[in-house]
């Protein structure tokens, strides 16, 4: 069968191509440009080849930031996913409680990142913050400015507060799509609460959970604004995650070459992980 062939159709995609070019491809190319050259300002560039990449891959600082970021992502996933499931399971399925819960859940998601950071920055302060002040009055030595552990706890609790709702909403959507007949059959079959969760609810939430893990992993792997506002990456480098480190290097120290090399490595890692997730998800979809 002959398909109609008309090259003018390309004009239809032109706006998108231009948009993507200016928003993504061209900036990325300038980063590539920086990553293979050395500059001291005044628009003078010297060829550096793969030097910055080698330096980055051997840089302890980079791998430490990477380690911190992976630990951070892992911890928040380990908290937010089970907690999100637990909350979703206990949300009402009908009645006036549904809109109330949904709005409450959506609230943290509507707050801009930097505002979330500011809220917690103030909340945790030992002099005027409700949390910091109360903790210290209760005799708990808490100070996120001095203590790396307290800084980590603050950043993690903040992320859990901010993003668990997303997991809850996704899981809730998965749960309400389960027909009543499944619960009825489970009752007839004498299934325990745990069995209902294990054999009915969890399998039906599988897909949304995968999406939740993907979204939360990506977001936490790129986290910048909130810890930057709260701790500024400190104390020391204890909460300096990859993107904070990157910005420090590029804008703080003006090491454009190494920073560019680092962002490309960072980008490739994100790309690789996205691909892994995508493959897992589509394979899972095909199996059904």
């Amino acid at each position: 069968m002959d398909k109609p062939w008309n090259n003018r159709a390309w004009f239809m995609v032109l706006p998108v191509v231009v948009l993507v070019a200016f928003s993504a491809v061209i900036p990325l190319m300038t980063v590539v440009n920086y990553s293979v050259q050395d500059t001291f300002g005044n628009n003078q560039f010297f060829w550096a080849g793969t030097e910055w990449f080698e330096e980055m891959l051997h840089s302890e600082r980079f791998w430490q930031a990477m380690g911190r970021n992976l630990a951070f992502s892992f911890i928040i996933l380990a908290i937010e996913i089970p907690l999100g499931i637990l909350i979703a399971l206990n949300m009402p399925r009908s009645g006036w409680g549904v809109p109330v819960c949904l709005v409450l859940m959506a609230l943290p998601l509507l707050i801009p990142w930097n505002v979330v950071g500011t809220i917690w920055q103030v909340f945790g302060r030992v002099d005027i913050g409700l949390l910091g002040y109360a903790m210290n009055r209760l005799g708990i030595d808490y100070n996120y400015v001095n203590d790396p552990f307290d800084a980590w706890v603050t950043v993690i609790v903040m992320d859990v507060w901010h993003w668990t709702s997303l997991v809850v909403l996704l899981c809730y959507a998965g749960l309400v799509s389960i027909p009543d007949a499944y619960y009825q059959a489970a009752k007839i079959d004498g299934a325990s609460r745990w069995s209902i969760f294990r054999y009915i609810q969890l399998p039906k939430m599988n897909r949304v959970l995968l999406i939740a893990v993907l979204l939360r992993f990506m977001d936490s792997f790129m986290i910048y604004t909130e810890p930057f506002v709260v701790t500024g990456g400190g104390p020391g480098n204890s909460t300096t995650y990859l993107s904070i480190d990157l910005v420090k290097m590029a804008i703080g120290q003006f090491d454009l070459g190494p920073a560019a090399a680092m962002s490309i490595i960072y980008f490739l890692i994100v790309l690789l992980l996205s691909w892994v997730f995508y493959t897992v998800m589509t394979n899972y979809g095909a199996e059904r």
Partner: protein, 353 residues
């Protein structure tokens, strides 16, 4: 197995029912005998499923008591009632194998492994899925999934009753017949109390010894398939069972004759009360050269016989004639007195001296 007593059960989905209309189940007072095979027959929305869910405990009736073998179970949970129920659409546990799906209700009740294995194999054999035992249930076709649901209902032998809620809707016609006869066989062998909900009259009539016909939230007639056919207690039963349904004609009754317009119809017996309607199944309407003149409007040849649609004194009636019989040029109909039933306000009026 147990007998099931429905003691003045009423149910409304509305929180504060005000009138009869608010009741999905108006009032049911009936006993399902131990070991009986019953069919609950009725159109969609007549309360069949509501009644079934009340028996299994998925639903708590708003009024009335439920007794198993005389023991009050009204406030017991589904699990405590020990009932098996098969639903209209397949419910399977996706992540389990076919084998584990069937073993699930047994394992939940702590049945020993050897016994589980024996029962599951037996049930798999029965539903014809032995070769699929190790397969994940997820990839199966709709009717295989429904067979698993059916199997889960049949795998426990100690249940008080097995309830079926239109279980064969998604199964193709040939398999339907096979599974239905298997259920029937099973009933004969083990004497389970079985209640089978359906809106398909053939299914109900072939499965059950006793058919409970429901209409508009109440039981209108309980009887053998034969009784439902010959002596419908309510005109609805007449319409609903049989194809085409019973003819119902408005008449004036005077002793042993009924007057329909200017025509007189001989009755087998005088009614014991006032009767305003005459019901006769198309099978008992004889088309020939004698009787009341009619105008034939349509003849439908449906294979084994022909359905004649005609007008009699302004009323539509249907008659069944043999495949080879011809219809005379000036057709007349004669009502076989054996097939005549009289009704008042849709309910049957007893006849006889």
């Amino acid at each position: 197995m147990a007998s099931i007593d429905l003691d003045h059960i009423r149910h409304s989905y509305v929180a504060h029912p005000k009138s009869e209309r608010d009741y999905a189940l108006r009032e049911v007072d009936y006993t399902f005998e131990n070991g009986g095979a019953y069919a609950l027959l009725g159109p969609s929305g007549c309360g069949k499923t509501t009644l079934l869910n009340i028996i299994s405990g998925l639903l708590q009736a708003s009024h009335g008591r439920l007794l198993f073998d005389g023991r009050d179970v009204t406030n017991l949970s589904t699990q405590e009632r020990n009932i098996a129920q098969v639903f209209q659409f397949p419910v399977i546990y996706d992540t389990m194998t076919v084998y584990d799906n069937l073993a699930f209700p047994l394992r939940n009740r702590g049945v020993p492994a050897a016994e589980v294995d024996r029962k599951v194999r037996e049930t798999l054999e029965m539903i014809g899925l032995s070769d699929w035992a190790k397969r994940r249930a997820r990839g199966l076709t709709a009717d295989q999934k429904q067979k698993i649901s059916l199997g889960r209902g049949l795998v426990r032998s100690d249940v008080n009753a097995i309830l079926f809620d239109e279980p064969l809707t998604v199964i193709d016609p040939h398999m339907k017949w096979v599974l239905r006869s298997q259920l029937k066989q099973l009933h004969r062998r083990f004497g389970y109390t079985m209640i089978y909900v359906t809106h398909d009259q053939t299914e109900a009539l072939t499965f059950a010894e006793n058919v409970v016909v429901m209409y508009d939230g109440q039981i209108v007639q309980i009887g053998t398939p034969d009784a439902l056919f010959e002596r419908p207690k309510h005109t609805f039963v007449g319409y609903f069972i049989g194809s085409p349904g019973m003819n119902v004609l408005p008449v004036e009754v005077d002793g042993v004759t009924a007057r329909l317009g200017e025509h007189l119809i001989a009755l087998p017996d005088a009614p014991k009360g006032v009767a305003t309607e005459l019901g006769i199944r198309p099978e008992y309407v004889k088309v020939g050269a004698e009787g009341i003149p009619v105008t034939v409007t349509k003849v439908e040849d449906i294979g084994r016989h022909k359905v004649v649609r005609a007008t009699l004194a302004g009323q539509e009636i249907a008659a069944i004639v043999g495949e080879d019989e011809s219809i005379p040029a000036e057709p007349r109909v004669h009502f076989d007195p054996a097939g005549i039933n009289l009704y008042a306000d849709s309910w049957r009026v007893e006849t006889g001296a």
